[in-house]
């Protein structure tokens, strides 16, 4: 009811190259509604892990803005996705985050859908109701390397490239032979884009994430690092290179700083890479000591960190012994629901093979430090005094990439490129 067509082009064009997004992008209701259409209902969303619903009839649910989605393993063992809404009067069907059903029975009038989504019973309806036209509205779903993706679009982007990259990268990690050690749900008081902008740079890590910078080289750019740091990085890469090759895994990001992502110029909305950890760190734990049994195919702790991410709602950091993932879901212009997952190998026993007080702190701290940042940034960008500032050409190239990726999606059908990329300092 409030199309912003005439003003949209002006707004989208108002972003200055190399700078942050203008104020309106972080709280305007009409822009938020457009983001839902163009990005959240258009692309692929990470929904959960396949091992969360191992058996036929197992289901997961989640809600994108105000749209509830249902994932269910069908009788053939395939993961299917549907709008979690009865075709009769529109009632939400499954109401818990996860569960198991023999059939999907609407709690209102008992319309009953098979695990394939077919309407199989609707007693009390008149004769002549065409059941075949009243199955659950199906959504595209894909499972890849143990991750479940859903798209609310009728014609989602090609999934094959993500599959190719993630399956190759994630195979040794064994996301398909994992289990959840802990899920924590957060209501982050900020626009979802601030969460991503925060995630896309490690400029803030020195000051905000003391535990993180001890383990990772992200904060250093090779060009600017001290000789000592440069040597440490080179040594770490050299040490692991041959060893990893034996295990069939490869370092794919050997430099300091974050690997470039996303890439609006090549329409790359997903990426995976593996980096080394600082000497003395076997895993992303507080002291670098392993906190759980080796996952997947790993025979050795020295595998660095596998990092994967996809726009607009997923990232994971996977060490030799555990992985920590995040799933983002928008819930209004100023609220983002984030689910944090801690994964360990499926046969690990809490209290014996791993202790939560050793497993959780590294990313619990890192996450909560970031949500606090995002909250205060939201308060700032809501100000009439906020003006987008310059992004660091050394450290915020990925924030620029994110903003350009975002603007390109919002423009889709329109201009080709949203902006000139940040001149990255070589």
């Amino acid at each position: 009811m409030s199309p912003l067509a005439p003003e949209l082009d002006t707004l989208l064009g108002s972003r200055r190259d190399g700078h942050g997004l203008p104020r309106a992008f972080y709280h305007n209701d009409a822009l938020y509604a457009l983001e839902m259409q163009k990005i959240w209902y258009g692309g692929w969303l990470f929904a959960g892990f396949a091992f969360e619903m191992p058996k036929p009839g197992d289901f997961l649910t989640f809600t994108v803005d105000s749209t509830p989605v249902l994932l269910i393993r069908d009788d053939q063992g395939e993961v299917r996705a549907f709008h979690n809404v009865c075709r009769h009067r529109g009632t939400q069907l499954c109401r818990t985050d996860a569960g198991h059903v023999r059939a999907i029975v609407c709690p209102y009038h008992s319309w009953t859908y098979s695990r394939q989504g077919d309407l199989i019973a609707c007693q009390g309806m008149h004769d002549g109701v065409d059941k075949s036209a009243l199955g659950l509205r199906r959504l595209h779903a894909e499972v890849c390397a143990g991750l479940i993706y859903v798209s609310l679009s009728e014609a989602p982007p090609d999934f094959a490239p993500l599959r190719a990259e993630f399956e190759a990268a994630a195979r040794p990690q064994g996301f398909d032979r994992a289990k959840i050690a802990r899920i924590t749900d957060y209501d982050v008081e900020s626009n979802w884009k601030l969460v991503w902008e925060n995630n896309r740079e490690c400029f803030h890590c020195v000051g905000r994430h003391p535990q993180y910078v001890k383990a990772n080289f992200d904060v250093y750019e090779e060009e600017y690092a001290s000789d000592a740091i440069r040597q440490k990085m080179a040594a770490a890469v050299e040490r692991t290179q041959s060893k990893w090759a034996l295990q069939g895994i490869a370092i794919t990001h050997t430099h300091g700083g974050l690997a470039p992502f996303p890439d609006p110029d090549h329409d790359l909305w997903f990426a995976a890479d593996r980096t080394v950890l600082v000497e003395g760190f076997d895993t992303e734990s507080m002291d670098g000591q392993r906190v759980a049994p080796l996952m997947g195919d790993y025979r050795d702790a020295d595998v660095g960190v596998l990092r994967m991410r996809s726009m607009p709602n997923f990232w994971v950091h996977a060490s030799c012994d555990h992985a920590v993932a995040a799933r983002l879901l928008p819930a209004g212009p100023r609220t983002t629901k984030v689910r944090a997952y801690w994964l360990v190998r499926d046969d690990a026993r809490e209290g014996e093979d791993y202790q939560l007080d050793q497993l959780l702190p590294f990313w619990q701290l890192t996450n909560e430090q970031d949500w606090d940042i995002c909250k205060w940034q939201q308060k700032g960008v809501d100000s009439i005094g906020y003006q987008p500032g310059p992004l660091s050409q050394r450290k915020e190239y990925n924030v620029d990439a994110f903003i350009r990726w975002y603007l390109k999606q919002m423009h889709s059908g329109g201009r080709d490129a949203a902006a000139r990329p940040l001149t990255r300092v070589a």
Copy 2:
């Protein structure tokens, strides 16, 4: 400030015959504002019971959306209704749900109104203030069969037909010789129309209201009922028919299923009927046993259930010994305030003549089961995946009738009929 005239006709016309309402109707702010004008500020609203304000100076208050209303018994013993707002600076006058005053004194500057609504004192104002022009803004009010109705319209619909029907139907029940055993206020997390759609069918009763279906025949349509059920219904009708005649009351709904209501084709926004209960049920209690003394003129428990209702905000189920009423008030597109009333005869003593733990459960359960349904239906119809489904021609003819009644009010001044009625299965 946001008229939706150009889009309104399109929206109102977008409902498909025999199906539910499109998504926008359940959350759009502009549609909600229009509903306030066309329906809530246009028709007659049930406000409460006359016995709640027996003496001159007794008052009741309630709020429709953001408009506070005051009912007061004047010095002649008549019930008057006013905008509950001072004519001076606009302060809300009476602030409790009910009370007693000698005069209505504004707590701000002590402007004082008689119980007739006349401004009788405004000390501190300048000479020449025309008190006669500054009485409380009066609203139409009617009392009928012990029920108080108010209209916020300057030219409300004719009240005489409702009076004729309700007085005849309700006379033996004695709503004017009753008292309140319990009031419970609910904030139902759904649009007010979902509350009505839920109320207008008993399709859901089998699965959701086990206590209700034991007592009532509503879930059965004669055409589809088993022979056993059909015989039970016929026997119940026959058993009571002659007996009731002696008491001067009549069964007016002898079939299974809900009596048709509302009737947009004949502009019927109120209805009353009496139905039999299942053998063994003297009243709508958990075990069918009486839970309070007989009400009104009843000399025998076997009087079935008197049901009355009026659009847009009232219904009551009255058994021989108690009655349970509901008053709906909208408080935004996604919130409906429902007041549930349990009535017994006025001289019944709690703990002696009735026990709350016997009186309350039947409708407490039924109400709360319904509010839960409505909440989850709201979550579903908020989804972009919601598409209105087909209504059962056997069981949801009244949901169709409600929707067509609603669309006709929204169209008023425009098209004659909103849609073709559901083909009801004969």
Copy 3:
């Protein structure tokens, strides 16, 4: 995104002379947004007291609607004001109400600003970043008689007239040699204009503020007061007149009723005056007894009450021994944040020189009585039944003045005068 230009003139013109404001002014989002622009971001806002930030590096913060402001004492001891937002990514900088810093360091990426607001470090940015263009966005700030004022406008109104008046009036009170005995923050559930309309008349004092009317003559207009009251007022004025002259202070409001304020016809948005108290009241305390040591230059308790106020967000009542101030900040159309300050002389010791249970009640009661009034008035003016009523020509001339001042600001650039003033009864 929702300009209301076409409707604005109609709305602004819809106020009837001598009456309250129409309904829309108290809850409409677009009008609220325009008020922010025209009034809150245009004029001078009281921010706090200079003694709250005595030393270089001391800071105060507050938020106007959604715009955070920072006040800091710079290295030269001057008070500076800035948008409390980092020039890099827009994060809110200082997060507590008050504090002390050596430099303003953004908690996100450690951009560092001097106390003068200059960007002095932004390690991690690329070479060539022009630090000189990235200092904090400065706001106009003034300190006068110990009060700090800030304007979010680039071209605020002339501050010199306020300074002249307040410095003369406030000198003996010693706001610059005071300290805070108590701060209480209130979220008043009403539009900010209702808070002012309440403040601008003492018509309601008789009924609502029993403690207040014992101490003050405000409720009486000379023309209408009884002979007894008139003699009491004359005696009080005569008694103090010569005595005050010796101390160099003057009664400036010798009549009953409130001194006229604001004055839209002469664009007066601030005022100060001194009035006598009722015989037996040395101060605005419950029993009239002094509750703290004499403030400022006072040598005698008999100094009446100094009252100062400025649109749109400040007033103070200062007795011989303490002062109570209020700072208003809007937080949406139906919420006003009010900070109440109780001040005493800076060397007074709690528990010895003053007791909070003697100091607080007079204004705690008066404030909370008023916030309750405002809440219920908001509920009333939200009603479709609200129609603006006539203002008392005896007692509400200042409400009329406020409304006309308000309309004139909203019109600025347009019509000269918003309305004809209330005919004040002579």
